[in-house]
């Protein structure tokens, strides 16, 4: 369990990193927290020719919020995002981050890295997809903003091209009269989830449900977002019946079986967890004291 031989650069600035990435092209792999990349290399599932270590790019270790977005720089560790006052304007971030592995992993792993890694069982890609956030990709020849819906292309596959550095992800803040919920099931605390759900509900001015959606992890190659509004719209949070929404979810998700769970079990969990995440969302949107998702 040792990584294969690999080249190594540690740029001191974003500009130097971009020059290095441009020169190396597809040979290069960016090393941020390395909490997914290093074990993949140790298991010889990944063997990049060259690592570009961005851990010296202190400019990118920010968490802040402006213009209705929580902005997380490429070097912000999960633990830093979790503890940041800036992240409290989108409560779903903390709810999901508590499920990301263990504290020791969150101390080193980065939120942007987890999103670019695009692992289907990871929490933060689903959160970005649910909220309709975006990823800023910068290269030596310019930069572009890619929306979450265009960013996740497949298992471990994102829209980031060789030569590009994801410098920032932006999560929209929680709108007024809205609430979020997060629920997942894993065999052991801190393991990747067998199934997980992030949900958000927004109420209209009259207090009835105006918008409801949920995003799923571990049920497909990419985070799947389902619009559940048609099953919940126009009803007050306290009077909502979730069975129709749960039914819709079970019809729409198409999970794969693996050694951890059958497809049927995942479909069952998707329904149960949707109910939990929606209840949490509805409670928060209606201004109830925050309850723990079961």
């Amino acid at each position: 369990m040792k990584p294969p031989p690999v080249g190594y650069s540690r740029p001191a600035s974003v500009a130097e990193a971009l020059t290095t990435l441009a020169a190396l092209g597809p040979e290069a792999k960016i090393l941020a927290g390395g909490q997914s990349l290093v074990p993949l290399m140790s298991m010889r599932l990944a063997a990049p020719a060259h690592l570009v270590d961005i851990n010296r790019l202190a400019d990118l270790s920010y968490v802040r919020h402006d213009a209705g977005q929580v902005r997380v720089g490429a070097l912000a560790r999960h633990a830093q995002v979790l503890a940041s006052p800036s992240a409290t304007v989108q409560p779903l971030l903390a709810k999901a981050l508590r499920h990301v592995a263990h504290p020791a992993i969150r101390n080193r792993g980065t939120t942007v890295g987890s999103i670019v890694h695009a692992y289907p069982a990871a929490e933060m890609p689903a959160v970005l997809a649910l909220l309709g956030g975006s990823v800023r990709l910068v290269s030596a020849s310019g930069e572009r903003l890619v929306s979450a819906s265009d960013f996740f292309l497949g298992v471990l596959e994102s829209a980031a091209e060789p030569g590009e550095l994801a410098t920032e992800v932006a999560f929209p803040v929680l709108p007024p009269r809205a609430g979020t919920g997060f629920a997942e099931i894993s065999r052991r605390r801190g393991d990747y989830a067998i199934c997980g759900v992030a949900a958000m509900v927004r109420l209209a001015a009259d207090g009835t449900v105006d918008d409801a959606r949920a995003a799923y992890l571990s049920v497909g190659p990419c985070p799947q977002v389902l619009d559940l509004t048609e099953k919940l719209a126009g009803v007050a949070p306290g009077a909502v019946s979730l069975s129709a929404a749960v039914q819709l979810v079970r019809e729409r998700v198409d999970p794969e079986p693996d050694i951890h769970a059958t497809a049927d079990y995942r479909r069952h969990l998707a329904g149960v967890l949707t109910e939990r995440a929606l209840l949490e969302s509805l409670g928060e949107a209606a201004g109830e004291p925050k309850g723990e998702a079961a």
């Binding site: 040792k2 031989p5 690999v6 190594y8 390395g34 909490q35 290093v38 263990h102 504290p103």
Partner: protein, 167 residues
Amino acid sequence: MTKPEELHEVAMTVNGATRTARVPARRLLSDCLRHDLGLTGTHVGCEHGVCGACTILLDGAPVRSCLLLAVSADGAKITTVEGLAEPDGSLSAVQQAFTECHGLQCGFCTPGFLTTITAGLRAVPEPTDDQIREMVGGNLCRCTGYQNIVASVRRAAQIQRDRAGRP
């Protein structure tokens, strides 16, 4: 490999002393500590971040040394289990609590627990039982059944209070 691997100079402050090594980029920090620096107190279990045995403190925060490359830790301040004892060589509060409460049997996982709990009690000096379980939830132990480890954390908090002269 036809040509020898490129080596990189790494300098770290380990347990208060500056240590240097020349390592290939692929050298895990856990292996650098054990093989290059001779600090075999850090134990290597799963080598993919699951067991927690190799946990060290990196700039004060617990991290898995098997999930870090040594080159990436250049310039960092590291504390391993060898650095936990008091300056006079007596046991730290956490170490003392583990001996008193039978918090270990075979000892393989112990370095990871000691480092994790040392940092955990700095952040939360008076943890509830739930906070204790969250604190050690990322470390595996196959001997104790964890009850004695939870008791050790409780006892360590008490020893810290006693040593600081607090009630």
